[in-house]
Symmetry: D2
Subunit: 297 residues, 4 copies
């Protein structure tokens, strides 16, 4: 297919590569052009403007947060104005339920189609086409663009016509992952202070009850104290947690674990961990227990 | 091997069957004798007293809580007095770190050996020999009784010589499972009130990031609102959570998620769910969000 | 003095009466004019527009939330446009730190002065001139308008030149009051379920250690289960709690009690208490403990 | 009256002085005799044994915790054995509801009377006869010993015949005070990081809504960072908080603020504050916000 892609952070770059590798034509745009140029060798066309990226069958956006999406979509020369009537905007970003609802309304008013399609996975998975993807929006349109999802993900959940439902699923997933980080942090701090070999315990638990990559990967990072390889930065994790809380407040759903996570994110930020991976969350409990940071092997 | 087994609740009964199926001689004892008699058909010998169950190569105990273990071990005619010098007590129960330390001291004083070996798994897994087992104690003794663990479990972690470390691992694991229950409860309440198909979302998440039985099994129970088939009763879950908190307090490890779980267990008990499976924890968030109990399909 | 007053909810109306009683000329404006007309008998002049209320020595605003203030100040025909250069805007509303900073910037750009002056006290206190008031802004201006604060309050704290500091104090105070509600709710639920006479205990505690109106008044409401006389509505309390959390997040201050309060507000809202006084917060713990609502004497 | 007093910590010593000053005959006993001897100059008789302190009209005990009370009462040569039939034991200690119930049962079995009468106030108040006191037990007996309470306290609440109700009131009060410490800690950390003059804010709040010694005294300690004059040691505060939680668990009352306090106490202990006053609780939030300890003026 012939698509535009706006936003070339680590996730966007990985997605561009997966799309190109699958044979799609991809016109890429990024505010700082260097990142777009870097994709020429992979076969990408570099767009000079947002409008240039909006001339294909669909434009995909993969941006950091609500503010970035609002700027790119609603700003002067933005997607909303650039996209033709009947054009399709596929938003891969993790954004608020509220903004997703607004995008649905605005695109509809402009006679355009909007698909919310947030993704799960770290940058490595994006580049390998191994993301897990959720999508919501007009059924026929999702069907039509299936080849795109086949290129970037290994699993697709279509969760309905109302776009923001996909965002709810994405936020829920991130809430569950953050809970894993915090609970492992507490569990490992408890084990370490009790004299238990934390690595052996983690290996046992993740070979039995918790035999799944989230526990293995993040547990390993926490046990080894490796937070500097940033797959997902702490402030982005906090942003998502707050989006969960806002959406849950709007639906009147009390979420006490989300509240604990909120406090932990703030504590981690107050301790100066802004530039670390969000798995640093798993270290806060250790710090509060008076433990020094685990040493890498 | 020739062993005694004291405590024939659903877990103990399953373990007895697995041991017998593997060809071991098992002399069983239970306070209410009917449960022991029921195992005759599986090949068990029925003991008339605790002392009778202490005449083999080792005596295993599988009891509900600290009080029960204290009664059986330290009480009149109990294990401590009945076991010969050089005898071996293998405690499979989920007990406090404190009591495990005391058992180590008392058995040592009596010239006996003590192995702490708590198990993970629901009654079905016990009966199928599919438990995950932790063990701590004298190395040679653990080696000697390996056939027992082969019979009841599919995975064994030996975590050191100090027995209570095995209890720490067990309590940590239960803390992590309870966290899964609560976080799924919050996540699913949020999804449901947002209009998302909770079953589809759960299926997606447990086919990708959370592809592990704990999330699948318990998530399924919560989505379907099935809490009446009791694999592990709510009050036992609360007991274990409190043991985690006591042990963490003793080590000075703050565990805010454990505190949230504490409140949720109390709330569930206050709402009259004593006789339900501890997965009912996953319903408290739904109740607080004003949702009715999910209906079974 | 000759001032305008915009916003005639229960608090604004009480403040208008106190100002008039003290001999000030007050031109009142309210979106629904009836409330303004009702003050004629107390000596108020009724403004036909926001602009009409901006012609005196200062204009005071007493509005429900950020959105209302933004509408009245930045909207078409709003305060910012209506006030002359050198004009003074005294904002009595409980608003966000962020909006207060923005008001400071915008009024400054327009050559106007801005004083943030949120107030503590229920509507009765406003009408009796017994509010406690915080103020921040240009020192000379605050000095000049001192007669206004004398009319409405019995205590004034001037907390500096940076306006939003007054808002921080106000939000902090409301956080502390909400904490009192929740802690009394938990304490009284615990006492009641323990068979203790809650009214007698409250009377004792508020005659000794907690001998202050906040504990007496709210404790009394909780003990008697009287939540229908609305001095401060639950959703407003929740709004303020979220403003605290936003401002604390911005300053990277973890506030775990604020997080508990957040969950409790959401629970109270989910249970349908929107139209109740925020002291209903003190009933959530009782409900979670399985207690019926306390009966009024 | 002629009474014995066992336990001469700072509280017990203050109480002894108040009793003596009021003209009562007091026979004092303390495990380390020096503290008893020190009271001779105030007119006390020094007992050589617990039994010696049990020969008057009543024996008062003022001990650190459950373990100490169990030792003194149930131990060999303890109060239970030493007191005559018809003798009266007045327990001033802050102990568990459970132990209070047990004391009631055991004294009753021994034909003795038992009054639970925990006290509120710091050591200075004990010495000045300004404690606030709760009492529960047989009505006539409480009436008879009224002169004792007149000597040590300025306020007495009689809360019923079931002794442990007095303990519930005491624990509830301590829970409320601990909540004040934590909420002030969070509030002041928030204010300080927002650039607000914390002392001025505290002075304002404690002259208006929170015009009561608990807020003034503890707020002052927190603002000034003075935690080294120990009126009530951190570990004792934690002990009481856990007694609240145990009793609330037994009554099935979820108390989320108590859970927050639990975590904060553990954090403060993990940070090495064992020997500080429990007002150090008010510093944990500041530490988590990255603030240095407040400097004394």
């Amino acid at each position: 297919m012939d698509v535009g892609l706006i936003g070339l952070g680590r996730m966007g770059t990985g997605i561009a590569k997966s799309l190109l590798r699958a044979g799609h034509r991809v016109t890429v745009y990024n505010r700082t052009r260097e990142r777009a140029e870097a994709l020429r060798k992979d076969g990408a066309t570099v767009a000079a403007s947002i409008a240039d990226a909006c001339r294909g069958e669909a434009v995909l956006t993969m941006l950091a947060d609500d503010t970035a999406v609002e700027g790119v979509v609603f700003g002067e020369g933005g997607v909303l104005k650039s996209l033709a009537r009947g054009g399709v905007h596929i938003s891969l970003s993790t954004i608020s339920v509220e903004l997703s609802d607004r995008l649905a309304a605005e695109h509809s008013r402009a006679g355009q189609e909007y698909i919310a399609s947030p993704v799960f996975g770290r940058p490595e998975a994006a580049e390998q086409g191994k993301l897990a993807v959720v999508a919501a929006g007009p059924k026929a349109t999702i069907e039509r663009f299936k080849p795109l999802w086949d290129a970037i993900g290994q699993k697709l959940l279509v969760i309905g016509e109302q776009q923001s439902k996909a965002n709810v699923v994405k936020l829920t997933g991130n809430f569950l992952i953050a809970t894993v980080l915090e609970s492992l942090g507490e569990a490992l701090a408890f084990a370490r202070k009790s004299g238990v070999d934390a690595a052996a315990m983690l290996d046992f638990l993740t070979s039995t009850l918790f035999n799944t990559p989230v526990y293995k990967t993040y547990g390993g990072l926490i046990v080894e104290g490796k937070y500097d390889h940033v797959g997902f930065a702490l402030p982005l994790g906090f942003k998502d947690l707050r989006l969960v809380q806002q959406a849950a407040d709007a639906q009147k759903v009390p979420m006490p674990i989300a509240s604990v996570l909120h406090d932990r994110f703030v504590t981690a930020l107050a301790r100066g961990h802004e530039r670390r991976d969000w798995s640093i969350l798993g270290q806060v409990a250790a710090e509060d227990a008076g433990l020094a940071r685990a040493q890498s092997a």
